[in-house]
Amino acid sequence: MRRALILAWTEVLHVVRDRATLAQVLLIPFIQLLILANAATFEIRDTPLYVVDQDHTSASRGLVTRFAASGDFGIVGASPSPELANERLLSGDVTMVLTIPHDFERELVRNHAATVQLVVNAEKGMAAGIVQFYASRILTRYAEELAPEIGVGASPSIGVEAAPRRGTPQLDVRTRAWYNPTLDYRHYMVPGILVALVTLIGTLLTAQNIAREKELGTLEQLNVTPITRGQFITGKLLPFWVLGMFELAGGLALGRFVFGVPILGSPVLLFAVSAVYLIAALGIGLWISTIVETQQQAMFVTFFIMMIYLLMSGLFTPIDSMPKWVQIVAELNPVRHFVAISRAVLVKGATLREIEQPFLILAVFAAAVFTLAVRQYSKRAA
């Protein structure tokens, strides 16, 4: 153990002496956290809208006013010309074009029904759906408002039960958002981003570090010293494990005090899970370092594997939206389980009993990857 500690200490000295690396590993995760937590949102506000009003009546102007006042849209231009609207749509500074045909008011008065055209830039699929919904909502409300003005009184009674009706049927729809009543996206993202950063840095540095020893030929020198493989690996990984835990703690503090992320569950539990999880992440790094020869390869292979892990972790997009077979494959992804655990503990206040299953999967994964990496390493070096 003493030998392992000495080796660990030399590693620490290496990093501490290399000012650039030190600054990078200490600063970058936190800067990333600040940027990511604010960047990662799909919220839609102030959709740029272009209005083509060919009616110019009080009814059409009223509709435009409703769009302007809704807060969901910002009117960036208006003209009676569809060609101009189309150009603005193509150049990308307009997301929706509302066209009010020239007989809009007449139709409303005569038939109590009229049509408007909405042309949506649907490049961003989900956003387009929500924009369409916002627009329909405004149209429905406006139609309700118009009903008394246009003089829709008693409607023809249908069937036998002639009940006196006042105006049109009304629905009163209320909504409630559970688990995140303020719909603050950052509370949800910060735990996940933290996991991603700690994973990426831990895995990358481990893989790169041992690959560097290979590249420079110093690994050979270590092999002829009396240090055992177990001691060597412990000494190599310990500093990065400590670094990972440290970054997690720092990131949590940042999330708590800067973004007001609730910590509803027990931080001790989260750190216990992290300790196990980091072994898995570093184990992956170690395994990568056994199959590569140079630092460049170490980096690219790490990126390749991490990219798949991160994209399939439910960090950016819900796993629920993925096809069934992908969801099954995602069960093998340690990042995914750790993201789920940290979100459950922090946002929903889960206890050990609720996270038992993913925690077990993580522990098994960590043990398996680590064993595999160590065995692979011994074979390579022998």
Binding site: A40, V116, R212, T317, S321
Partner: protein, 367 residues
């Protein structure tokens, strides 16, 4: 054979010999397109829905049918009371619930406001608000129809979805993916390979050779330009064949803009390598300076217009943002330079600036 040709040959051999890196560089974009096409979906479908209907009658039944008939919802439970909802939400069996008031139909018939409550699991706020709006949309559709039947007023929206009628998210991601792939290949590989020459001391040997500094740089990066190009072609072809992502504009324009963007990324890589002498520092630097901004601030995954203003401001100096706009314009909208000249000019300006800075810093380091 001139010294320059020799350097070119050496670089090619290096790259071709390094099977593992080559494998990752060629294979990564292909895997990414598949992942983004199949696994990464921002569109929401099959929302697990429970309906609480204490006193069923014609009107609630009709709304129920509208929900079960839509492909967005998967009606998993119909309950007589709201009691079990807590448990169902906690277990994740349902993501959304629509709760009718006990006297819903009665009040609706009398023309009084009839109450419906929509509850969503908002632990993931984005899908939370989307699920909420889909449900309200269904209920409002019903409301419009009964308004029409009872002689109310109605305004029909005729909706056209332009540029991406199926609203497939792969159409949105692929142009961004091209930017991402080019960034990795050009910026990262350049930064690492130049730094490696320094770390192993071979840069010194190159410097005392008759090669000019510019020739050294060009010789080192030319191979990566070619690899970047091949990757772009692969990604575009694969996106077309597997996910039928359109290429409505001109391929030539896309490749020319791609070349411009490759130059931008290369200069960034050279700039990073000139400031560091260890591969580790170059690696993390390239990660923070090129790759992460490309993923986060280019509009590749997250819409820039939703970000707070400081980030919107910062995104303007991320070259990838402009390239993503251009690639989407060419691929999805099928527009040409007449609409994209503005973005192209910005990218061109950035490229010139970065090339100048990179060459200069490289020379200074050598002196």
């Amino acid at each position: 054979m001139s010294a320059f040709a020799g350097l070119l040959r050496k670089e090619w051999l290096h790259i071709l010999r390094d099977r593992r890196t080559l494998f990752v560089v060629i294979f990564m974009p292909i895997v990414q397109v598949i992942l983004f096409g199949y696994a990464i979906r921002t569109d929401i479908w099959a929302i697990r829905l429970a309906i609480v209907d204490p006193s069923p009658d014609a009107s609630t039944l009709e709304i129920r049918n509208r929900f079960s008939g839509s492909d967005v919802f998967e009606l998993v439970r119909i309950l007589p009371s709201a009691g079990p909802l807590d448990r169902l939400f906690a277990a994740g069996d349902i993501q959304e619930a629509v709760v009718f008031d006990a006297d819903f139909a009665n009040r609706l018939a009398r023309g009084l406001p009839a109450r419906v409550l929509v509850v969503v699991d908002a632990s993931e706020p984005n899908s939370g608000s989307a699920m909420e709006s889909y449900a309200i949309g269904v209920i409002q559709g019903y409301q419009r129809d009964i308004a029409l039947r009872s002689g109310g007023v109605q305004i029909f929206p005729e909706v056209r979805m332009r540029f991406n009628p199926t609203r497939a998210s792969s159409n949105l991601f692929v142009p961004g993916l091209i930017a991402f792939v080019l960034t990795i290949i050009s910026a990262l590989m350049t930064a690492i390979s130049l730094t490696r020459e320094k770390e192993t001391g071979t840069m010194e040997i190159l410097l005392v050779s008759p090669l000019k500094p510019l020739e050294i740089i060009v010789g080192k990066v030319l191979a990566y330009v070619v690899i970047g190009f091949v990757s772009v072609l692969l990604v575009v072809a694969e996106a077309r064949l597997i996910f039928s992502v359109p290429l409505r504009g001109s391929l030539l324009l896309l490749l020319a803009e791609g070349l411009l963007y490759i130059l931008t990324s290369l200069s960034l890589g050279i700039l990073i390598s000139s400031r560091t002498s260890s591969q580790r520092v170059a690696m993390i630097g390239a990660l923070a300076g090129t790759m992460l901004p490309t993923i986060l601030l280019s509009g590749f995954i997250f819409p820039i217009e939703s970000m707070p203003w400081p980030l919107r401001l910062i995104s303007n100096v991320v070259p990838a943002k402009w390239f993503v706009l251009i690639a989407r314009g060419v691929m999805l909208k099928g527009v040409g330079l007449e609409y994209l000249w503005h973005e192209t000019l910005i990218l061109l300006g950035m490229t010139l600036l970065l090339v100048a800075a990179a060459t200069r810093s490289f020379k200074i380091r050598l002196a």
